[in-house]
């Protein structure tokens, strides 16, 4: 069955609230990366919900949902979703496509992607080098090294004076 493209001007699609027992404590996460991320949020007292919402992305002609996306975390105080992934860059195309589609269909929804390199840097920032090795592996560590030793010349970009508000 051929999929149907959605007109962005049509009435907004309502995201679906996920049923089932929610994960409310970092120790409940089966995936260690999500567990560590939730612990960091808990540490800084950032309220979070795990996959509270599913966004339909594609429908068949009968109106049945063919493809959907449930971002990992929702931060209610900031009204923002966070998708955390430790996928290798080569496997990220599908994820990027879903995120683009979500932004097209739900323009008021804020979603941030924390990818493998971002997460490796976050772990490094908190001195979690051992955990970084376990959670994201050598490829991401190599990528993070680029940050330490950039190949391109980088200079300060903002030299104008005065407040930025």
């Amino acid at each position: 069955m051929e999929s149907k493209s959605i007109d962005p001007d049509r009435p907004r699609v309502t995201p679906v609230r996920n049923p089932g027992a929610p994960i409310e404590h970092p120790d409940d996460f089966p995936h260690p990366s999500e567990r560590e991320f939730a612990r960091i949020l808990d540490f800084y007292q950032i309220p979070w919900q795990y996959e509270p919402t599913t966004f339909a992305l594609e429908w068949d002609e009968a109106g049945n949902v063919k493809e959907a996306f449930s971002p990992d975390f929702y931060l209610p105080d900031q009204d923002i979703y966070i998708e955390l992934t430790t996928l290798r860059p080569a496997l990220m195309n599908r994820k990027h496509r879903k995120l683009r589609r979500l932004k097209e269909l739900y323009p008021d929804v804020q979603v941030k992607l924390v990818d493998r390199r971002d997460f490796a840097n976050l772990l490094f920032k908190y001195g979690l080098e051992d955990e970084r090795d376990q959670l994201v592996g050598q490829a991401a560590i190599d990528a993070a090294e680029v940050i330490v030793n950039p190949s391109k010349s980088v200079e300060a970009q903002n030299n104008e004076s005065g407040p930025t508000e």
Partner: protein
């Protein structure tokens, strides 16, 4: 500029510095401009600068001297998330403000804002004390790392995704005293971490 500035860092540590991103002159010019803007905006108001230890000390000291109106300052310190059970759990204040800020105009000063997690926590804490106003001043902004959005009223430099040291920025407490902001050589972190472990074992 030459990397071998006289300071207390060891030659071995200094040799890990690769390239200066912001010179002392660039930093001084920007800090001076920020100080002038703050002095204009807060003219006639009861202004207090609040910084979070430890990296902000260098920026805070220079910024205070660039402000030309009466101003006070205070510092706050919080525990940091880390790998041990002692550094997990929930963030806590390890040093509270000595000054009362209720009804006063507070400018929260940070050396660098990246994820926004620390700043968000401290801003929430400060806001609960009911200051007359609360704004943010950051020397360095790395918005590509941001998880929690913040409104930075006074911003020094917006920098790309680099690990930087100097002028208060550290790696395992090293490099803070460099007068410039620089990148480290490839593999430097691994070498420094190994040296740090060896030294720690030797001290034990």
């Amino acid at each position: 500029m030459s990397l071998d500035q006289p300071n207390s860092a060891t030659a071995e540590t200094l040799s890990q510095v690769e390239r200066v991103i912001l010179t002392p002159e660039q930093i001084a010019a920007r800090v001076s401009a920020l100080g002038q803007a703050i002095s204009t905006d807060y003219e006639g108001q009861d202004l207090i600068l609040v910084g979070v230890l430890r990296g902000v000390l260098f920026f805070m000291a220079d910024l205070l001297r660039a402000i030309t109106i009466p101003v006070k300052y205070d510092v706050i310190a919080i525990s940091r998330y880390g790998p041990t059970s002692q550094t997990r759990g929930v963030v806590r204040l390890t040093k509270d403000l000595d000054e009362h800020i209720e009804g006063r105009h507070v400018l929260f000063v940070e050396d660098v804002i990246d994820t926004g997690l620390t700043s968000n926590y401290i801003l929430k804490n400060l806001r609960a004390r009911e200051p007359a106003s609360l704004r943010v001043c950051a020397l360095l902004d790395r918005p590509q790392h941001r998880l929690i959005d913040l409104n930075i009223t006074y911003k020094g430099f917006e920098l790309p995704d680099l690990f930087l040291v100097g002028y208060g920025l550290d790696y395992q407490q090293m490099f803070r005293n460099l007068p410039y902001i620089a990148t480290l050589k490839a593999g430097a972190l691994g070498r420094l971490a190994a040296a740090h472990d060896l030294q720690a074992r030797g001290d034990a």
